[in-house]
């Protein structure tokens, strides 16, 4: 590792440096995972500011617990778990209110919903606004674990084995969650396809 630039170090090496007191190396982990963390949080919150706060909080927690990280899992599954837990806490506190009012937010405050709308594909592939709202609404009405499995697979592209680690469950259970989530979404969108 002598001639390596810090940004080339593996996660475990960066974590080890932090654990040995060189906290500044955590910045490289922030750089590497900030987009993923923000996007997970945004998938849960559908709000840019909330997503920023939650994902930054996840980094702060990871940093304050870095010495407890024992390397039994990879840093990224450990970190995803922190992000997801914060998102689920958030959902419990606010999810229902936020989600029930999503349509109103879109109508009354287009700027606020800008991020959600701009997620559509550019050339005519865009999911129509109503379909998108229906999909988001279905997503939010799912049991938390089902939604979590779906977001991690569909939006984050995590392999099922890693989702099982993040959620501390079995791969078979993740498959069931994923299947139920997809079936529910497909059903809710059938009239739009």
């Amino acid at each position: 590792m002598d001639n390596q630039k810090p940004q080339e170090l593996r996660d475990e090496e960066l974590v080890a440096l932090c654990q040995q007191g060189q906290g500044q190396y955590f910045d490289f982990l922030v750089r590497k995972y900030m987009e993923k963390a923000f996007r997970i949080a945004f998938d849960f919150t559908r709000d840019k500011e909330e997503a920023k706060d939650l994902s930054q909080e996840a980094f702060l927690r990871a940093f304050s617990r870095i010495k407890q990280f024992d390397g039994r899992s990879s840093f990224y599954t450990w970190f995803y778990r922190l992000v997801v837990n914060l998102c689920l806490d958030y959902a419990r506190r606010k999810g229902r209110v936020r989600w029930q009012s999503l349509d109103t937010i879109v109508e009354e405050n287009p700027e606020r919903a800008e991020l959600a709308d701009s997620r559509s594909a550019p050339e005519g592939q865009a999911m129509a606004g109503e379909a998108k709202r229906r999909a988001q609404s279905t997503l939010k009405s799912m049991p938390d674990r089902q939604r979590t499995a779906f977001l991690l697979r569909n939006h984050q592209g995590l392999p099922i084995a890693d989702i099982a680690k993040v959620m501390k469950t079995t791969e078979a259970t993740v498959r069931v969650y994923l299947h139920r989530a997809v079936a529910a979404l497909r059903q809710s969108l059938l009239e739009f396809v």
């Binding site: 007191g21 190396y25 955590f26 594909a121 229906r134 939010k140 939006h155 498959r175 396809v193």
Partner: protein, 177 residues
């Protein structure tokens, strides 16, 4: 639309495997079982087509400007730095360093002096003094200090996921948007 009433699903025995198939998961055996079945089953083919049409659209990531990510990074790092300065663990970590810090400091001083002399002569090459990612051996070997600070650390409860494992009521269950 007529289609609305039909709500056609895949064959019961294949639906879960089709979802996995769509994501490229599942074992080789499961995948070929799905492929063989789809050759003769239009329902399952349509199910897979629907997934291919719908699911990627849901995951379209928005491209945020680089300035957003730059700001995000700066803000996050500033928060972490502030936490590091507040936290007893990071602060205290410097305390046991004093024993080894003296010789290290002395060595560093000599190095700084030497670099100063080099600069004075116009012969300093910044590449040559690139900081190393290595840890001073003195810290590495002092595992007991780390243990001590570990034991001082507060143990945060939480895992929301674990709470859910315990079968708590789902906050969103039963709602239909």
């Amino acid at each position: 639309m007529e289609r609305k009433q039909t709500l056609e699903t895949a064959c019961r025995d294949f639906e879960e495997d089709l979802v996995l198939y769509y994501y490229g998961d599942g074992s080789e055996r499961e995948r070929s079982r799905v492929e063989v079945h789809m050759r003769t089953c239009a329902r399952c083919q349509r199910f897979l087509d629907d997934l291919r049409r719908l699911l990627p659209q849901m995951a379209q990531p928005e491209s945020l400007p680089q300035s957003f990510w730059d700001g995000y990074y700066r803000e996050t790092v500033a928060k972490i730095t502030a936490q590091r300065q507040r936290s007893p663990w990071w602060r205290n970590l410097s305390t046991p360093m004093r024993a080894w810090a003296l010789p290290v400091f002395a060595t560093a001083s000599v190095a700084v002096l030497a670099v100063g002399l080099l600069i004075g002569r116009g012969g300093w090459n910044p590449q040559a003094v690139r900081p190393r990612a290595n840890i001073p051996q003195e810290i590495l070997t002092d595992a007991s200090q780390l243990e001590f600070f570990n034991s001082m650390d507060m143990i945060e409860s939480l895992p929301a996921l674990e709470a859910l494992d315990g079968g708590k009521a789902e906050p969103f269950a039963g709602r239909n948007g």
